[in-house]
């Protein structure tokens, strides 16, 4: 890699990231195979941007997000955050870097301890990482509650007293407590109702602007990702098939999978729906334990060539900032 100027140095650099889960079977629990949840993923996340990571269930998007924060062990490859390699550092060392990188989880019901009050949930990271007096902590909690739009009077209530959208706000406040730079948002709106989703997304956008946050926004909601993301990476079966600027990727998807995925999204407009022609993929996503030979998408791809069944494609930059992993674009 050549040295780039200061302002375009990425905040996160992921190279050839692999996360394999071993399958054990039999009485002796012998290793019988591996699930290649994430297989050779490389991506950069620039400071202040939102990188959308989309794909269907089981494609490895959540595992990628967790591996970047070292919440999953990394099998191979490197992850560099703010110039520091974190893929091999000891967990003790990792703890020191944790404040810069936080996560917002999918299900606000399950990611908040039901026995803790809102204020203790939000202040827990402060206990762990900072030495503040009781008064300072209290002020900080109130500040955070204000900034995510929670009423201060609710500080001593428990999670079950809140609705889904408000619970997600608690989760966001907790993630913000240590002034992080990077937040991995793992399907933060998937469990919410449509009218509440927009509230939470607007909040995330406001916070990003106020605090210069960088997001990795993991979602299967392609409309929402288009709305929030600067750049988008599309994953299929553990690999990135396409990365590009959001507007380019949505207006002219190049990889056949991206094309099919986008064409399959129904639009809330009967006019468009009448003429929309979905590219209906046949079959199901293969198991990541037994991916097909060659390109992972070859057995469902409507445009597959001979070579796709034999040789695995690599991620190539075909125009500035646009990367595709497909034999159709190799010539």
């Amino acid at each position: 890699m050549t040295e780039l100027q200061e302002e375009i140095t990425p905040l996160v650099e992921v190279r050839d990231l692999k996360v394999y889960f071993t399958i054990y079977a039999g009485v002796l629990r012998r290793k019988v195979g591996e699930v290649k949840a994430v297989d050779k993923v490389s991506l950069d996340i620039m400071k202040g941007e939102t990188l959308g990571l989309v794909g269907e269930s089981g494609c490895g998007k959540t595992t990628t997000g967790r591996a970047i924060l070292r919440l999953n062990e990394i099998t191979d490859g490197s992850v560099k955050i703010k110039g520091e390699y974190i893929h091999k550092t000891s967990l003790k060392e990792i703890r020191k870097i944790r404040p810069t990188m936080q996560m917002i989880f999918q299900d606000p019901q399950e990611s908040l301890n039901p026995r803790m009050t809102v204020s203790s949930i939000i202040s827990e990271p402060l206990y762990e990482h900072q030495n503040l007096t009781r008064k300072e902590k209290e002020d900080r909690v109130y500040d955070l509650m204000d900034s995510v739009g929670l009423n201060r009077d609710f500080a001593s209530r428990y999670p079950h007293e809140f609705s889904g959208g408000q619970r997600q706000r608690i989760g966001i406040a907790r993630a913000l407590a240590l002034n992080p730079e990077l937040i991995v948002c793992d399907e933060p709106i998937a469990a919410l109702d449509v009218s509440i989703q927009a509230q939470v997304v607007n909040l995330l956008e406001d916070l990003q602007e106020q605090r210069n946050l960088t997001y990795l926004f993991i979602s299967h909601d392609l409309g929402m990702v288009r709305h929030i993301a600067t750049r988008v990476a599309v994953m299929y079966l553990g690999q990135i098939v396409e990365i590009g600027k959001s507007e380019n990727l949505y207006s002219s998807p190049l990889h056949p999978y991206t094309e099919a995925l986008l064409s399959a999204v129904p639009e809330a407009d009967p006019e468009i729906e009448r003429t929309r022609k979905a590219i209906v993929l046949t079959g199901d996503v293969p198991s990541p334990a037994t991916p097909p030979q060659g390109c992972n998408f070859c057995n469902r791809c409507p445009k597959a060539l001979e070579i796709c069944h034999q040789v695995e494609p690599t991620l190539n930059e075909i125009e500035p900032g646009r990367f595709i992993s497909c034999h159709l674009y190799n010539g």
Binding site: E56, S57, S163, G165, Q166, D193, V194, S195, I196, Q197, A198, Q199, V201, N202, E205, H220, L222, G223, M224, R226, H227, E247, Y250, A260, L261, L262, S263, A264, V265, P266, E267, A268, D269, P270, E271, I272, E273, R276, A278, V280, L281, D284, V285
Partner: protein, 333 residues
């Protein structure tokens, strides 16, 4: 027979109440609608709006207690389902009325083969022999696009993927040539490319079989693609009912408008900021004497707090429950 004239299903003043420790929750509050043959009626609303409860109550599928149908009539083929004995209802359920549920994993029985589960209604409702039933089951599996039905017939639900399981559910629902198919969020648990497959299949089947369908969902995109008419529900009531083109082109109720505005498009213009609806959906612990949407409505005025609006016709076949339109006759922009 003059089949096209009389509706397949007509629901009048349906009320469902749940008794909870905090009091009675008015989950469905005075609902009226008709379903004509060959029509696909979409029912949209957020969680807790009463869309599933409405449909479950039609077939006596709600556990009682805590649920209780407080009144109303549900006419299906001239019979009031709410007054039928459980034996009579059982004859209709799974026979003339087919049901598809949201989660294909939990609604199929894991200990019986898929074939067995398709044959079951055929033997019960159509009194087919084992052999006839099997032939029909294989036809159905083929119809819903399951490759190699002969082989798959003996497989168990866990051996199928989510999309394939939902196809099996559809096969079971269609087994006895239903007049009415009720689908409750059938594609919500599926990935978008698999959802596209199922939607194609349903469109195709409806062309072939022409049954009336009620499709419950929270996804306005899905509705826009398949429905002919749409009901929008909020807090247990219908707030708007119109044909799909009319509803999206000319939504009247502030809730419908706001809801359509909250959805980011995948195609066309990208909105710089999403419209959101402030606050959250209410719990319906009291029978509302006000418009349930007024705390979240930008246009609410005094009457919205003191009177519950009626569902009235504004324009041809366009029903809206809103004081603003009723009193002031304004279509808002």
């Amino acid at each position: 027979m003059a089949e096209d004239l009389s509706p397949v299903l007509s629901v009048e003043d349906l009320k469902v109440v749940f008794s909870t420790r905090k009091g009675e929750v008015h989950a469905v509050n005075t609902i009226n609608f008709n379903l004509n043959s060959g029509e696909l009626l979409g029912v949209v609303g957020e969680s807790g709006s009463g869309k599933s409860v409405t449909m479950m109550s039609l077939l006596g599928l709600l556990p009682s207690p805590p649920a209780e149908v407080k009144g109303g009539t549900v006419l299906f083929e001239g019979k009031d389902l709410l007054k039928s004995s459980s034996r009579e209802i059982r004859r209709v359920r799974g026979g003339k009325i087919g049901f598809i549920f949201q989660d294909p994993m939990t609604s199929l029985n894991p200990v019986f083969s898929v074939g067995f589960q398709i044959i079951e209604p055929l033997k019960k409702h159509m009194r087919l022999s084992r052999r006839q039933a099997k032939t029909r089951a294989l036809e159905l599996l083929d119809l819903v696009g399951i490759p190699d039905p002969q082989k798959r017939f003996k497989d168990y639900p866990h051996q199928f993927s989510g999309g394939m399981r939902q196809r099996v559910m559809i096969a079971i629902a269609l087994a006895c040539d239903p007049k009415l198919l009720i689908a409750d969020e059938p594609t919500t648990a599926l990935d978008v490319t698999i959802q596209a497959q199922i939607l194609e299949l349903v469109k195709d089947l409806r062309k072939k079989l022409g049954m009336a369908t009620i499709w419950i969902t929270h996804d306005l995109g899905v509705i826009a693609g398949i429905a002919t008419r749409v009901i929008v529900m909020y807090a247990g009531q219908i707030v708007e009912l119109a044909s799909v083109e009319e509803l999206f082109a000319n939504p009247q109720h502030p809730y419908t408008k706001a809801l359509i505005g909250t959805i980011p498009a995948v195609r066309g213009e990208r909105a710089s900021r999403l419209n959101s609806i402030r606050g959250q959906a209410p719990t319906t612990l009291k029978e509302p004497s006000f418009c349930s949407f007024h705390p979240r409505c930008d246009f609410a005025f005094e009457k919205c707090v003191s009177h519950n609006p009626q569902l009235l016709e504004h324009g041809s076949n366009h029903l809206v429950a809103c004081h603003l339109i009723e009193d002031k006759g304004i279509a808002l922009d």
